[in-house]
C-alpha cells in the first residue's frame, strides 16, 4: 500500500515539476514548484524521514514560494 502511494506521489511530483518548467504562465509555474515541495514532504514522511519532511513542508512549499512571488513582482515592476 505504501509502495503504491509512494509511486503515485513520485508521478505527481514529476508531472508538477514538468509543469513548473514548461508552463507559459509564471504564476502557475511557481505554484507548481510549491506543490512539488508539498508532495515531496509527504513522500519523505512515507520514507521514514520526518525531519526532512518538516523542513521541506515549511521551506520548500512555504517560504520559497513566497520568495519567488516577491521576486516575480519585483521583476514585473522593473520591466514596465
Amino acid at each position: 500500500m505504501s509502495l503504491i502511494l509512494a509511486i503515485f506521489l513520485g508521478v505527481v511530483i514529476l508531472v508538477l515539476a514538468v509543469t513548473a518548467i514548461y508552463h507559459k504562465n509564471t504564476k502557475v509555474a511557481i505554484i507548481a514548484t510549491g506543490a512539488v515541495g508539498l508532495f515531496a514532504s509527504v513522500l519523505y514522511l512515507l520514507l521514514a524521514a520526518p525531519d526532512v519532511a518538516l523542513t521541506e513542508a515549511s521551506i520548500g512549499s512555504g517560504l520559497s514560494t513566497i520568495i519567488f512571488f516577491y521576486v516575480l513582482n519585483k521583476i514585473r515592476h522593473s520591466n514596465d
Binding site: 525531519d51 518538516l54 523542513t55 515549511s58 512555504g62 517560504l63 520568495i67 521576486v71 522593473s78
Partner: protein, 233 residues
Amino acid sequence: MIKKGILLLLLVGFVAVIGSLLINFTGSNELNPLARYYAENGPAEVGAANLVTAVVVTYRGFDTLGEVTILFIAAAIVGFFLKVMNADNGRPNKLRKTSEILETASTLLVPTIFMLGVYIFVNGHLTPGGGFQGGAVIATGVMMIILAQPTSRFNHKLISVLESVSGVGFVAMGILGLILASGFLNNAFLPLGKLGSLLSAGAIPIIYVFIGIKVGSELTGILDSLKENQNEI
C-alpha cells in the same frame, strides 16, 4: 554533429557509471561500523532519545555550526543588497485587500504555528525535528502574518538582536563544552539526565533553542527585507 556525438558519448558514459552502480548494488541488513557506533554508544554518551539529534548537534556539531553560518551569511547578503538598492522613495504600496477568511484564520493559526515551532525545537532531542525545522516553521508563521496583514511592520532591531544573541549563545555553548567537557560542542558539561525526559541530553536543548531562534529570526529577516523592497521600482 560533433557536438551531438560528444553529448551522446557523455550520456553513454553516464548510463554506464550509474548502471554499474545499480547492478552491483546489494542492500545490507546491518549498519556500517560508524552507524553502529552511534546507535550503540549514542544514548549513553549523549543521552538524546532522538539519535539524529545526537549526531547533528554533538557528534557532527561543527557541521551544524557551519550550516548556521551559511544561513547567516545568506541572510546578511540579502539584507545588505536590498538595503543598498532601497533608496527610500516613500511611495505608498498599492495592495489588494486580503480576504476576510485569511485574516480571521490567521489570528487563530499564527499563534498555533508559533507554538508548534517552539515545540519542535524544544523537543528536538526527543522527537523528530530540531532547531532548523522549528525555526523554519516559525518563519512560516511570520509569512502568514505578512500574507494576512501586508501593512504590518516588524521590529528590525528586535530581529537582529535575537539573531546575534542566539548566534553568540550557540558558540558560547560550544566553548563551554570545550572548557568543562571533552571538546567543542560537547554537551556533557550539564547532567545528561534520564533518557527521554525533557530536561535530558545535557546542553542539547539549550543549543537547539539557540539554533531555533537564530534560524527563525534569519528567515524572518529575509522575508521582511524582501517585503520592504516591494514598494520601490
